[in-house]
């Protein structure tokens, strides 16, 4: 039995007051907080081991290189990749998806081809494909959502999986709705038709056990900062057979075998996709974060996330004049909602006065908000260091906000 409250001691940032009230941090879908072990790993690296990686012969460069590559091996284990060579370090989920669009996409897509997405997608899994479609003449189609519950209407899938579909990119867990998509099933259906698949794991990687081989996708992208790691580091996993066929992403040092004035030979994956001096401290911090999460256990974390989200959704449902988004069943660790006649930004501004950190806005899912007929929602998103007592504080704050704006 995990003592969730005692885990809070590992997070220095949680122990402070905001506007005279204990901080309740419910903006975890935007970014997570960092445990002491991650902060220490960064400090240790900069105090003891900092040097440029690869090619170095001196002691510090060896240490830095070893720590950097150990993080790659750790990342492979984190998502059950076959090999560390399938792990490309990126700045985050956004760059991972852009990398696939810019390399695999530019090589394989042509006019008339179709990119299949879902209406749930974050802008990071929309805009790179729109840019690619504009360049190549490919088209984009979408699996529709059914309504406020954010669940995909999979009855439309057969008619959308046309022979023209070359790429099917989907979000694992929706950041604005808290829907968990059946990615195993979706990837299996795509694979039968020879369609390449990408799963956006920004909201899932640190919250539930992820096995990319079991999911059966071709690419999986996630961010370090949402899973207790530093900002500016992320992972793109790609199936080795596909990575080997892809042209480089950016050109520069680190990614070459030999360079002449007119011709260059490139390294194999993953180094082909990592030009220039990489973020070195990032993977090292990420390694510590992955160790930290897996010591708790992501199945365990998922259960705690869901308990908090269900508890919060249930308490919010008991209020009047509230519209709650997201699925009735299997809700991920977040709740989006709207108070009648109170804009989400007013909710968030007032909640902040109560020490509660929420997010209000379109959550980088503008087309989805538009489809649901709203401009924005307020969102509470949870992680393992949050508690039911904090949800109770949040609910009281929401009640006070309703009173404040009552006519």
């Amino acid at each position: 039995m995990t003592d969730w409250t005692s885990l809070r001691k590992d997070f220095p940032i949680l122990h402070q007051q905001v506007h005279g009230k204990p901080l309740v941090y419910f903006d975890n879908a935007a970014t997570s907080q960092k445990p002491r072990s991650v902060i220490d790993a960064l400090v240790h690296y900069y105090e003891r081991d900092n040097a440029n990686v690869h090619r170095g012969i001196h002691e510090l460069s060896n240490r830095a290189t070893n720590a950097f590559e150990a993080a790659r091996t750790r990342s492979a284990k984190f998502i059950n990749a076959k090999s560390a060579d399938e792990i490309i370090f990126t700045r985050g989920t956004t760059e991972g998806i852009n990398l696939v669009a810019a390399t695999w996409g530019a090589k394989n897509l042509k006019a008339g081809d179709v990119i299949l997405l879902t209406e749930l997608e974050h802008h990071s899994n929309l805009v790179p494909w729109q840019m690619l479609a504009q360049k190549t003449g490919a088209k984009i189609t979408y699996i529709p959502v059914t309504g406020d519950d954010g669940v995909l209407d999979l009855s439309k899938l057969d008619s959308l999986l046309t022979p023209q579909v070359k790429m099917f990119s989907m979000v694992h867990i929706s950041n604005s709705m808290g829907v968990v998509n059946p990615v195993e099933e979706l990837c299996a259906r795509a694979r039968k038709l020879g369609i390449v698949t990408l799963v956006d794991g920004a909201q899932s990687a640190g919250h539930l056990p992820v096995d990319v081989q079991a999911i059966g996708c071709d690419f999986f992208a996630f961010s370090g900062h949402k899973i207790c790691g530093p900002t500016g580091i992320g992972v793109l996993w790609g199936r080795q057979e596909i990575l080997e066929t892809m042209p480089p992403y950016q050109g520069g040092g680190e990614m070459i075998l030999s360079v002449g004035y007119h011709k260059t030979e490139f390294k194999h994956a993953p180094h082909r996709f990592e030009a220039g001096t990489p973020d070195i401290s990032g993977p090292i911090g990420l390694h510590a974060a992955m160790d930290y999460l897996d010591a708790i256990g992501r199945a365990n974390i998922w259960q705690h996330d869901q308990e908090l989200a269900n508890y919060a959704a249930e308490k919010l449902s008991a209020l009047k004049n509230i519209r709650i988004f997201g699925p009735k069943k299997n809700r991920a660790g977040l709740v989006s909602f709207l108070l009648k006649d109170v804009h989400a930004h007013d909710v968030v501004t007032l909640a902040n006065q109560g020490g509660v950190a929420l997010r209000g806005g379109h959550h980088c899912t503008q087309p989805l908000m538009h489809k649901l007929g709203v401009e924005s929602t307020a969102r509470a998103s949870f992680y393992f260091y949050n508690t039911k007592a904090e949800v109770d504080v949040f609910i009281e704050v929401i009640k006070e906000i309703q009173k404040f704006f009552a006519a």
């Binding site: 930004h345 501004t349 806005g361």
Partner: protein, 151 residues
């Protein structure tokens, strides 16, 4: 619980956001402009009827947060009867006040926005309608946005 936030949500602001004045379309207007805040989706349209150089009537439609709605509502009340040049001067005063808290001269009821500068995330909400006003007066065709507003 929210006692110390009354400098942002003053009674006048709450009143105007719950009961916005001049909140309607104006089919026969002389000019109009759309204001859009990409950060939060605040979206409003401002309508002006001019008689020569004088603003005879002003109204707005759209949706947004309490601050942006109250700001638009108070703006429409404020600019009626002003000349274009007077309205532009008021815009300058309001912009200074909202971004820095400094009130230069008499801004009347608009002084309720003097506390907004303490909430940097909300400056764009308060100033949106005023950018739309300038857009309408200067006949700018493209929707105005607060994207580049210094906060």
């Amino acid at each position: 619980m929210f006692d110390d936030i009354n400098d942002l949500y003053q009674q006048v602001i709450l009143d105007h956001c719950k009961h916005p004045r001049n909140f309607h379309e104006m089919p026969q207007c002389s000019c109009s402009a759309q204001g859009f805040n990409p950060l939060c989706g605040d979206n409003l349209k401002l309508f002006l009827t001019l008689d020569g150089d004088v603003i005879k009537d002003a109204s707005f439609t759209g949706s947004g947060c309490c601050i942006s709605k109250a700001s638009a509502s108070l703006l429409t009340d404020n600019v009626k009867g002003k000349t274009k040049a007077e309205a532009e001067k008021t815009f300058e005063q309001v912009r200074d006040m909202i971004t820095t808290g400094t009130v230069n001269g008499d801004v009347g009821k608009l002084a309720v926005f003097a506390g907004v500068y303490k909430y940097p995330a909300r400056v764009k909400c308060a100033i949106l309608a005023w950018h739309a006003l300038i857009g309408a007066l200067r006949g700018e065709a493209a929707p105005v946005s607060t994207e580049n507003e210094q906060t």
